[in-house]
């Protein structure tokens, strides 16, 4: 097993942990944490693929953009969380069930 496949093996485990968190948790904050973990793993795939194919500069250019996107996405998620908290007084995703059908 070479180092590249070992990296991707570990990345897959990190991604699994993140997805498990998103599936198992009811709390919005934990869901966001799971999302963050998954996107960290996705960033690692980009840099690792860039290093393997000798495209490191290109991969870095992508990563910088991804980091900016991630900040805004997380800020939006937290803003939604705080708004939900103000309206409902809870941060629990499954108490949201006014829409059914």
């Amino acid at each position: 097993m070479n180092i590249f496949s070992l990296d991707w093996y570990l990345i897959a485990i990190i991604m699994f942990v993140g997805f498990y968190c998103m599936l198992a948790s009811r709390s919005i904050v934990r869901q966001l944490i799971g999302l963050e973990i998954i996107s960290k793993a996705a960033m690692l795939t980009v840099i690792s693929a860039g290093a393997l194919s000798n495209n490191l500069i290109y991969a870095q250019a992508l990563l910088i953009t991804m980091i900016v996107i991630e900040v805004v996405v997380v800020a939006t998620g937290l803003a939604l969380l705080v708004k939900n908290f103000r309206l409902h007084g809870s941060a629990d995703i499954w108490t949201l069930s006014s829409l059914k059908g």
């Binding site: 570990l10 198992a24 944490i33 960290k40 490191l56 997380v74």
Partner: protein, 162 residues
């Protein structure tokens, strides 16, 4: 080689810890440590720019945002704790996944890697961003504008009526 793999393993451990932690504050801090590991991995790969961004923005700014939000909702969250059983099952699930993946994933990834097309790898980061990825910079500007308006729209200035 050892250092490199150790960083990946550490990131995985911190990720596990962030999910398992009972207190949300600990989760947020563990998430910051995952970010630190990721940024060290970037440095190790020889990608200092991405590493610096990751360290300052993800490990710094995002953690501040998380801690702020957590401290706001902590009282409510502790009143109604979650069912922990599913989280205690995580290490076993992760272990089963790790063992199953051990047999299939590396072979699959090696096959993918065999198809890799080796690039030239020259140039500087500034030139790469400006020369090849200029539309992305426009996208970043748009993203930041969107972020500002989202915050403005979600948290309007308090009006007299409230």
């Amino acid at each position: 080689m050892i250092y490199h793999t150790l960083l990946f393993a550490l990131a995985a451990v911190f990720a596990l810890w962030a999910v398992m932690a009972r207190k949300l504050l600990v989760s947020a801090i563990m998430l910051a440590l995952v970010s630190v590991c990721v940024s060290l991995i970037f440095f190790d790969f020889g990608a200092p720019w991405a590493g610096v961004f990751e360290l300052s923005v993800c490990a710094g700014l995002i953690t501040v945002l998380f801690v702020g939000a957590v401290s706001l909702i902590r009282a409510e969250d502790e009143k109604r704790p979650e069912n922990r059983a599913r989280f205690y099952a995580l290490p076993f699930a992760a272990a089963i996944f790790a063992i199953a993946a051990w047999f299939y994933l590396p072979a699959f990834v090696e096959e993918l890697a065999a198809g890799a097309k080796i690039g030239s790898g020259g140039g500087s980061i500034g030139r790469a961003l400006w020369g090849m990825r200029r539309p992305d910079l426009l996208g970043q500007v748009l993203m930041l504008a969107a972020g500002v308006f989202v915050i403005k729209s979600v948290f309007p200035r308090r009006t007299q009526s409230k």
